[in-house]
């Protein structure tokens, strides 16, 4: 059959059919993988919370994350953030997950602490879009490891200072090393950490 490929009708019908065809395939592919994608997201968030509480690390098998999370953690939505509560070895702890601005995009992180906000239990970046190799290094294990067991300063904050750039692991000094070559990202993370500490204290006080 000889089609008139230059007619408007043919062009319209052709475009319509092709669009429908490809979009339907994409919709199916999306639907098929949807539950998997959601599960990945949930697992990632759960793992970050568990890591902040010191209940899991990178080697924790994926299969154990969900059961561990259910066993230890209760969550509660608070004003623009999520609060998590866990009792570990008889001690209550509180964690805050919060999203605040970063240099290129929002940064989401979890910070766990005692209810008074005096000793940080752990800190974990959940999501960030900082410059790879510079600000992006906030996702590296050494950076979050600095917060483990860190006492806050008398004013209840943690100070970001220009240190060796290799990490500051003294729990008593209330300071962590900022990222070398990423002052802006460090400023944003500092604001995020200290806001989380303030929120944790506020919520922890009601326990």
């Amino acid at each position: 059959m000889k089609l008139n490929r230059n007619s408007i009708t043919y062009a319209a019908v052709f475009t319509f059919v092709v669009c429908i065809l490809f979009v339907v395939i994409l919709a199916i592919a999306n639907q098929v993988t949807l539950s998997r994608v959601e599960a990945n997201k949930k697992l990632e968030s759960q793992l970050a919370v568990l890591k902040a509480f010191g209940l899991a690390d990178a080697s924790t098998p994926a299969g154990e994350i969900d059961s561990k999370y259910r066993q230890f953690i209760t969550e509660k939505a608070v004003d623009q953030a999520t609060a998590y509560f866990a009792t570990i070895d008889g001690q209550p702890f509180v964690a805050i997950k919060l999203t605040m601005p970063g240099l290129w995009g929002p940064i989401t992180a979890v910070l766990a602490t005692d209810p008074k906000g005096t000793v940080v239990r752990g800190f974990e970046i959940v999501d960030q879009q900082e410059t790879p190799g510079l600000g992006g290094r906030i996702s590296e294990p050494w950076f979050s490891a600095q917060f483990k067991g860190k006492q806050t300063l008398p004013d209840g904050t943690i100070a970001f200072v220009q240190g060796s750039g290799k990490g500051n692991f003294d729990p008593a000094n209330g300071t962590v090393d900022a990222i070398t070559g990423a002052s802006r990202t460090s400023d944003f993370v500092s604001a995020l950490v200290n806001r989380e500490l303030a929120l944790a204290r506020q919520i922890g006080g009601t326990l």
Binding site: F22, I25, A29, N30, N40, D127, P132
Partner: protein, 222 residues
């Protein structure tokens, strides 16, 4: 953009062989067509991301070219660009969906770059310059060759940038702690000058090889 069909290569090479040689060298998308530069700058500070990007572009270009070539008799000229964008973005979204479901860590790291494969000019360039006037098999090969031609240049740049910028390759530390990383290599400017140096070397080499081949001045357009 120079057209593949008009490049001169030795007469005895089969069409498939010619398409491969063109994509990988004689008409390399980066060296000759100077396409796909945005991603060359964006992802090459890390070999793993570069490799995923290269695989994504190769897949989208070859499958997209093949599909468009199969449809070429049916596509009305008036809407051919719309159809090209539709088909190419279809494959790009497929890559995105697959990565999100099965490789969440990589998908997260690459972030918007996967979706941005569609803005890679190589895809539209090959669809318009080659797939629109060649059979599906050859169009697939052309997409593959161009994807790989783009890929090897990107990987070379990524090796240099990751090694000097992080002291590692594919994330594995190669040199000890005495090594001071070149911060500039991690940032976009280094991609500009590395790419420029690569272009200069490749074109210089090519010009010399061509000059050696023919003593008489080139009969083609200058």
């Amino acid at each position: 953009m120079s057209d593949t069909e008009q490049r001169k290569t030795p007469a005895k090479v089969s069409p498939a062989g010619k398409v491969m040689r063109d994509g990988l060298w004689y008409n390399n998308p980066i060296f000759v067509q100077v396409l796909g530069i945005c991603s060359t700058l964006a992802v090459t500070n890390n070999l793993r991301n570069t490799l995923i990007m290269v695989l994504g572009v190769t897949f989208a270009t070859s499958m997209g070219s093949m599909t468009l070539s199969a449809l070429r008799e049916l596509i009305p000229r008036k809407v051919r660009m719309i159809v090209q964008v539709l088909v190419l973005s279809f494959y790009v979204i497929i890559i995105d969906i697959v990565l999100r479901a099965y490789q969440p860590a990589i998908s997260k790291q690459l972030g918007p770059y996967v979706g941005l494969i569609i803005t890679n000019c190589i895809l539209m360039g090959r669809a318009e310059a080659f797939a629109a006037s060649n059979p599906p098999g050859l169009a697939f090969l052309d997409g593959l060759a161009n994807g790989l031609g783009y890929g090897w240049v990107l990987l070379v740049i990524a090796v240099i940038r990751e090694f000097l910028g992080f002291g590692s390759l594919f994330g594995f530390k190669i040199v000890g702690n005495w090594f001071t990383p070149w911060t500039i290599m991690v940032m976009a400017p280094s991609a500009f000058f590395l790419l420029a140096i690569a272009l200069w070397i490749a074109n210089n080499y090519k010009a010399k090889a061509e000059a050696a081949k023919k003593v008489a001045p080139a009969p083609q357009k200058g």
